[in-house]
Every structure is written in C-alpha cells, then in structure tokens.
Assembly symmetry: C2
Homo-oligomer: 374 residues x 2
C-alpha cells in the first residue's frame, strides 16, 4: 500500500429475509450505521463505491452508484463494482486504489443485495450469471450443481467422507449463534447436516449458504485514522468457466491473491490468526483452507476438525461465515472485513484476513487487516 | 492527474445488430483490435476493467471481469464497473485511479453490450434500471418517456420548436456516414426526423438512440506512450430519480464534472475543439451543450444550427453520436474517447473531450484528451 488506509467505520443490517425493506432501505441502514460508528459527517465522504451483483434482475435496478450517492446530502461521485459473489472485495480493492491515487481521502463502500423478492427459479438462474453463460449454463448446471461436482471430485481425490464434510457447517453455525447480524443463530450438529435434504449430490441443504437480503458498509480513509489498518489488498482472476480449468479441487486465484497479499503486507502466514473465508458451500471452505495455505492439500478438513474440537490456533468465520451469517452476495466481502476487524479487536490479535471470491473461484479478493492496538 | 496516462491502443466492433456474435465474441473482437493498434503483447496488460450495464438481463451473465480476463493468456486481475449508460466513462475513470495509484501500469478497459437478443419489452424494462425503481418506474415511465418529459419542459421554458430539435439527429447522421463502425450510415433530413413515428411526445423515433450490440476497448498506460494523453478524468453524481431534482432541463452532474475537468486539465473551454457528447435522445445533446458551457442556457440548439450549416468552430459527435453510431450502452463511453482521439489526430487539434452520462444525467464522466502532435 502506498498510503496508510484505515477502516474508520462500519455498519451492517442483520442478514435475512427482509420483505418490508427495499434495496435502498438496506443500503441506507448500513450506511447510517457506518457513519455513526465512524463519528464522521456524511459530508466527509468523497467517493461512494457500491458492490452489487443481482439488482438488475432482482430489483430492476442499475445505476446503484447514483442511487447510494443520493442517500448522502452532497451526492458525492459514485459507481458500482461487480465481480459476482466477490463484488464486496473488489469494491474494497477499488476503494484502496482511489485512496492510493489521491483522488479520494475518505471512501464509503457499501455492498447490498435484495434476493428474496423473486422466485427461487429466478434467483438460481441469476446466480448462474457467476458462471460462463456459454460454457457452463448450457449443461443445466446451477451453482449447487457446480459445487456438487467440486465436492464429488474432491472426495474422489482425497477420500473426504460425507460425515467429515458435515463438520464445516456445524462450526459455522456455532460461531453464528452469538452474532446479532446473522441470518441463522441456531446451532447445528454434523448429523443434522448429513441428514438434511439432498440438493446436489453429495451436497445437502445445510452445506449451502442461503439466499439472503442484507447490506454492509465500510468507510476507508487516509485522512482519518483508526486502530484497524488495511495492509494488503490483492485480487486475482481465473477462467469464469470451470470447463476451462485443469482442476476443480483447488482455486488458483486464491493462491495467487494470497501470495501477493502476504508479500504486500510483509507478514508471515502464521501471524494471520483471524480468517473470514468464502464458504458459499461447505466444500469451498475446505478447499480455501488449503489454497490459503492454512492446511496441506487434501487436509483442509483436519483444520475444521480442530476448529470443531476447539484446538485450532486459527479463528475462522467467527461471524458464522456465508452459511450461517447469510450470503447477500455483494455484501459478503464487506461483512467479512467487518467481522475480521471485530474479532481482531475482541481477541487482541494483530493480523486478520478476509477472503472473498466470485463464481467458482473465478475472481478472488484478499484483504489483510492489522490491529495497531496489539 | 498525478501520472501521465496515455491512450496507447483502441479497438471497436462495428455497432449494430450482431445476432451471430455473443457478448464474449464482441469483447474479444474489440480487445484484439485494441492490442493490435497498441503494438503491445497481451501479457503487458496488468488489469482489465469491463464496462457493462445489462448482461445479467440480456445474457444471464455476471462476473464479466473474469470473463474478459480469460480472453487474455495470463488471466490478469479484472473487475466490472457499472454506472448505467455512463459505465464506459466510469470504467475509464477507475482505470485512471488504478494507474495513478501505481497498482497497474497498463490497463485494458473494455465496454460491451449485447442488447438485441431479447425482446423490446425486456430491453425497455432493463434500461429503466437506469432510473429509480422505487420513484420513477412505478409511474410507468420508460427512458423515452423520461426524455419526452425533459423535452416537453425544455420546449416550455425556452421555446424550442419541434422543427429545430430535428436538426440534432440530422447532424449526427451526417457525421456517421463516413464512420465504418457506425450502426446507421444513412443521412437523415430534419424533415425526416420530424415525420418519423411518435415515440414519446414530443420525441419521435429518429430522436432516440437505437438498441445496439457492440464493444469498444481502450488501453491506457503509464509505462507506454502515445501522442494522446488523458489530461482530466472527472465524475459527478446526481439523484438517480428525476423526481428528486429541482429542474429537468439541465443536468448538474455534467456542470460539476466539466468544471472539475477543466481545472484538472488546466485548459480553457475554448481550447477544447472536439467534443463527443451523450445524445441518448436529441434533447439531451441540446442540454449537454449548455451544461458543458459551449452554449448559453436555452441556446444549445443555436450551436446545432451552426453545426448543421457548417459554421461552428466546434466539432461535435464526429463519429455520429449515440443516435447514428449506435448505443451499446456501456461501450459508448469508450467509443467516445476513441472517436475524440481519432478526430484530434485527423484535424490536428490539441484538446478534445468525451462526455458520457448514465440515467437522466445521474452519473456523469468527462475525459479530456490532449494531442501532443499539435
């Protein structure tokens, strides 16, 4: 980073089904909470970046930059960034570039999604927009279908069992129980995951993150300070289509972004103790632990077993992850950064990491946060 | 600009109805043309920014950053920027910020839209995404409806006549006749405009830019040079809804972006001789000339009369504008920059300006280009 960039404010709506709130209402709620937490006047915001994937389909709404800007009294310059489920991290990355360029001193990044107002057919098709419409969608695949293939292949290559995989969502649900912003605050046993309805073999209902409404907002600044500093912001791309990949049991974009993020932050992997990772499906969390380098190839589940048994030194998805906190697509990357900050402060740890991806690992964004109070 | 940013390559597809080409095909064609014109290897691209508004609806396709990145051999980091019809300029602005931050040295910006594969109902509703879905759409308005209101009010306030307004599209069609990339290369008399079918009183068919397929790509670089340098990149926002504006006969976001762009470029308005402006509807071009300061309030049409009679010192929409060159929404802002560059070179003039907006002037992006060969 060529500038010191601080997370000076953050705000969340509770994730869930908000039939009485519009997309704009959700953005407004998160923005107001972020401004309150920052203590700044809205007039100090000189750029707004909105993260959103689905609003054209779910809300007949584009131009979300101007929509969000109009929620502030002075209508600052604004735009929307989209990278499917990785939109949040990509919007944060874009904000960092604007801050580093000197074009902005204080940027409001708001991610929002209103997914529950359309039918399951419509939302399933819209989410398939995160795969290649020419190469993947014609096979009749849905995203649970894609990650079902990923899980099947992973089990074939590494011997992961159905029972082992169920530990992942159990860990995430336990973590969500104390999170007031989580969509699901109920604990879930591994057995309940294994016995939940089959969605896309071998994935079951409780392996899958839900459809959610929600918004998350972060205020990043070079002119105002806080104990939480962004020390790395890296993104990487892979082919959008899984048909063009040599393997589907690892996501190289994560590996590339992680290597560059550690270099940029100049920290060792072992110094990063708090991780929010993109568990759109349970199998993704297992693979992510390996791609991020916190577990060896084929051994991601061992880390989750350690997490389940309370013997891991790493804190993973302390807010409940996408599975239990909810996954209003473009809000997720911002919520992850907020949760990393909260847990760093709570546990007095120095470094945390938010790992967000779009599609089946087609776009990855990683942010490393340093807690100066440690 | 805290860095010298050069337009080192550009490529276009012809705009039109391309039923045999996919969105990806169009992007690929423009990207290849841009790389050819730059003389650079694809491997020199270290960031891809895609401008697109409609692909979720028209192509079931999101994640366009990764989609475009996969067209290059090394899959560079990539994202999509959206600001309705202003997506192109906003993507260019974002590219400038990344270049100024030092995070990228050479950025490929590609704008693409594939609008003709869906029915007119679907595309009309999707384009209304550029207005406020809560405040404007429930009135039954379409975009021709919004600009019909704008034209009606403008005529009421300034006495513009239907016959005068018809000059605008006549000028644009004449300019397009020599443009091999234009959708419509037919000349059109003012009378033909006045007699074309009524769309939204007082606007007629030939006042309205068409539905188009097409792509445009620009390569911006700080490490490679060309005679064309970006000397200002400014954006501004207004309310997305016209219901929240004190007036609809002027777009303040244009005025704000223009003032800041002239300051940033440190040039006088009179030194800017080449202008590409956002004529989504003929009335918009008239208003834009006033908001950009090239005509006094209520007198934009006088400038168009001068253009029609060949006595203006300004060159406006030499590629045919949105009306005649076509308007594949997010490609437009990039095409404008390319056309400014072409005409600066052709006419040996020092400064040109691309003026792109989204919605009814809700988001505005202005780029000023300097031709170092003059």
């Amino acid at each position: 980073m060529n500038q010191d960039i601080f997370l000076v404010g953050s705000g969340l709506t509770r994730f869930g089904e908000w039939w009485d709130k519009s997309l704009k209402d959700l953005m407004d709620e998160a923005i107001k909470a972020a401004l309150r937490s920052s203590g700044l006047s809205a007039l100090e915001i000189d750029l707004v970046i909105v993260a959103n994937m689905l609003a054209e389909v779910t809300n007949n709404q584009a131009g979300l930059g101007a929509l969000a800007s109009a929620l502030l009294p002075h209508h600052p310059p604004a735009m929307r960034v989209e990278a499917a489920c990785g939109s949040g991290a990509l919007a944060l990355h874009t904000a960092c570039a604007f801050l580093e360029s000197g074009r902005a001193k204080t940027v409001l990044v708001v991610g929002a999604e209103k997914m529950t107002d359309v039918s399951m057919d419509v939302i399933s098709q819209a989410l398939m927009g995160a795969a290649d419409a020419e190469l993947d969608a014609p096979s009749g695949l849905t995203f649970p279908g894609i990650f079902g293939l990923v899980a099947k292949r992973y089990m074939h290559e590494f011997g992961l069992t159905r029972e082992e995989l169920s530990i992942v969502s159990a860990v995430h649900h336990r973590n969500a129980a104390e999170n007031p912003f989580a969509q699901f605050r109920t604990e879930l046993s591994p057995e309940a995951v294994s016995e939940s309805p089959l969605i896309s073999d071998p994935l079951r209902l409780f392996d899958c993150s839900p459809v959610s409404d929600g918004a998350a907002a972060c205020i990043l600044s070079t002119s105002h300070k806080s104990p939480l500093r962004i020390v790395a912001s890296q993104i990487a791309s892979d082919t959008l289509s899984i048909a063009e990949r040599p393997t589907i049991v690892s996501f190289p974009a994560t590996r590339e972004a992680m290597n560059r993020a550690l270099l940029e932050a100049d920290v060792e992997r072992r110094d990063v103790r708090v991780v929010e990772t993109h568990d759109c499906f349970s199998i993704a969390a297992v693979i992510n632990m390996e791609d991020l380098g916190f577990a060896r190839e084929g051994e991601g589940i061992k880390l989750y077993e350690d997490l389940y048994e309370g013997r891991a030194s790493l804190f993973v998805n302390m807010g409940g992850g996408l599975k239990a906190c909810g996954h209003p697509v473009a809000a997720t990357g911002l919520k992850q950064l907020i949760d990393v900050g909260k847990h760093l402060s709570r546990a007095s740890l120095p470094y945390g990491l938010a790992h967000n991806f779009g599609g089946a690992g087609a776009t990855c964004g990683i942010h490393i946060v340093q807690n100066a109070n440690v």
